[in-house]
């Protein structure tokens, strides 16, 4: 069965000044639907790059990426943008919530790109916030929330459009032990109960432990 994500012969180089660095060297692999994958590897190994490519916020030099049956390497810039809106949920290390918007408004953001009415959006946002157990904080600003709470809002934002995949880049990197545990439990629940495909880049062995599958990326090569 074809995976939800199919990667073939992916190559990506970066230019740093006059040097050209080969970050990904012809990688091919598949990710199954409902998978909880952890990508690990040393600093600079290209794991974040790979994640960015899968999430559609970067373009490969050569190779193809097919997500949910769509070849995203062939999409134009604006097509890619609207594809992301409904197919990818992002969870960042530093949460990246908009500081001037409330928790509710932050979660609502991706829905503004859909054609939903105000009332419909409200329903989805409240549902998402209930899922992450922060329904009582929806009118708070990020500055009024703890790190763990901010990350949970970010997760709510990531799932509010019911995306095909969830990508997380060091989601516990900035959290204390307790909050990290809560966030990981949440992600695991989303994967188990709602069948969300999660692709996580991490250094944290505890985070990796929650995943079903761990793959290592070293010098642009997957093991």
């Amino acid at each position: 069965m074809p995976g939800i994500v199919e990667i073939k012969d992916l190559c990506k180089t970066y230019r740093r000044g006059t040097q050209t660095i080969l970050v990904l060297d012809g990688i091919s692999f598949d990710i199954e639907m409902g998978e909880f994958l952890a990508l690990m590897g040393p600093s600079g190994s290209g794991k974040t790059t790979l994640l960015n490519l899968i999430a559609g916020i970067d373009r490969p030099d050569t190779g193809s990426i097919i997500v949910g049956g769509v070849d995203i390497s062939g999409l134009s810039e604006s097509e890619l943008a609207s594809w992301r809106a409904f197919n990818v949920g992002f969870i960042f290390q530093f949460y990246n919530l908009i500081p001037v918007l409330t928790a509710f408004e932050n979660v609502e953001l991706p829905l503004l790109l859909s054609g939903l009415s105000r009332r419909e959006r409200r329903l989805h946002v409240e549902a998402a916030l209930r899922l992450v157990n922060l329904a009582d904080r929806m009118d708070h600003y990020p500055g009024e929330l703890s790190g763990g709470q901010e990350q949970r809002v970010a997760i709510a934002r990531a799932i509010v459009t019911d995306p095909t995949i969830l990508v997380a880049d060091e989601p516990t990197g900035d959290l204390d032990k307790v909050s990290a545990g809560e966030v990981l439990d949440l992600m695991e629940r989303l994967n188990r109960e709602l069948g969300k495909t999660v692709i996580m880049v991490t250094h944290d062995p505890r985070a990796a432990a929650k995943a079903h599958l761990i793959r290592n990326l070293e010098k642009g090569v997957l093991t």
Partner: protein, 387 residues
């Protein structure tokens, strides 16, 4: 699209910067609007000073009544013209007037200013429906009585009702005050032409004014009078005559005003550019996030442009608001062309208000467009990396 509340709240979060930038624009708009209001006030004053149906005759080559001289016999020839309209009382609507400038001290200070003294005839008042006696009475012909325009009565020593002025070796009693609204007449003193001519030892009038029976005949009348060999006169519509009087001042105000506005607006725009670039730089991670979430480039572009336009709009409204208070002030200064005292208001009109807002939006646009493009064209990965 990104909601407006995002922009508004961002502007509020960096209040100091927002207000400083908007303040710069407000000031530019203030200067811009003041100049426009001043020019409009000047124009209104002088244009309304004349009537479209009146014709003014002055000596050829002279630029104003003060320089002009119309001999008595020439005046008599004009008075006999058939094109002069007849008034309600059956008399011809024509007046022979003499205009001089005298130096009078202002109330409260020792500063002197040149004031127009107009020697009038019986037909002078009917020719000028804008002029209304508001206090006292008209001067008796053959006496040393005078009436003062409201602005002169107010501002000059000895020109108020009941007071008297001394010139031409005589005392002249002010028996009335007249108001001519915003027109130049409010800055004049009127008295009997013959009496004044005696006092100043003038043999000639300065001008002859009459109302045309048919204002459409102006061209023809002008041609005839100017080619009449016994006269050496120039004919102008009264409105045009007064318009010309302000041209030098209007031009001066315009040049000074526009250059100041341009220079200052450059400053304000640069302030806006700096502010917006800083905003973009500060919110790089946000921009990356929004793009990652799927917002298209143009929504980012529009968001930052909107913020800049908002700053411009706030500045524009503030500048306009404060400038509108200028309407309470009267400028009293010397008209460069005629050397005489001229008082006029700041006049705010709807077109001026629209121009002000448009101008502030343009400033906001220019200030924001480059930073907005930079924000929109950011590479997502690079932007996210900066968090």
């Amino acid at each position: 699209m990104i909601p407006l509340s995002y922009n508004l709240r961002n502007l509020w979060t960096r209040r100091l910067t927002t207000f400083l930038t908007a303040g710069g624009m407000a000031l530019v708009v203030f200067v811009f609007v003041s100049i426009l209001m001043l020019s409009e006030g000047l124009r209104k004053t002088l244009v309304e000073t004349g009537s479209y149906e009146n014709l003014v005759l002055i000596r050829k080559g002279s630029e104003s009544e003060v320089q002009s001289g119309v001999e008595r016999d020439q005046a008599a020839i004009i008075e006999s013209r058939p094109e002069i309209a007849i008034g309600a009382d059956g008399k011809s609507l024509v007046a022979k007037e003499m205009v001089v400038l005298i130096s009078l001290p202002k109330r409260g200070t020792n500063k002197q200013s040149n004031v127009v003294i107009r020697g009038i005839g019986a037909g002078s008042l009917p020719l000028r429906p804008q002029v209304k006696l508001v206090e006292g009475r008209m001067p008796r012909f053959g006496s040393s009585e005078i009436i003062a325009g409201s602005r002169i009565a107010e501002k000059f020593e000895g020109a108020g009702p009941g007071e008297s002025l001394r010139f031409g070796m005589r005392d002249w009693r002010v028996v009335g005050v007249f108001d001519a609204g915003n027109t130049g007449f409010s800055s004049e003193i009127w008295g009997d032409a013959d009496q004044l001519m005696q006092a100043f030892r003038r043999q000639a009038y300065s001008s002859v004014i009459f109302k045309m029976r048919d204002p459409g005949e102006f061209e023809r009348i002008k041609e005839e009078m100017e080619s009449e060999p016994r006269l050496t006169l120039e004919a102008l519509r009264e409105t045009r005559y007064y318009e010309e009087q302000s041209e030098m001042m209007a031009k001066f105000l315009r040049i000074l005003g526009i250059s100041l506005t341009v220079i200052f607006s450059l400053g304000a725009i640069i302030g806006a550019i700096i502010t917006m670039y800083a905003a973009v730089a500060n919110r790089t991670a946000e921009i990356g996030t929004l793009r990652a979430l799927g917002f298209p480039r143009r929504s980012i572009l529009w968001a930052f442009l909107a913020e800049s336009l908002l700053i411009g709009l706030v500045g524009g409204i503030a500048g306009l608001f404060f400038a509108s208070f200028l309407q309470f002030f009267t400028i009293s200064t010397m008209n460069f062309q005629t050397f005489s005292e001229l008082a006029f208001n700041f006049s705010l009109t709807l077109p001026i208000a629209w121009r002000a807002i448009l101008f502030s939006l343009i400033m906001g646009f220019i200030g924001g467009v480059l930073p907005a493009f930079r924000a929109a064209r950011m590479n997502i990965v690079a932007a996210l990396r900066s968090s």
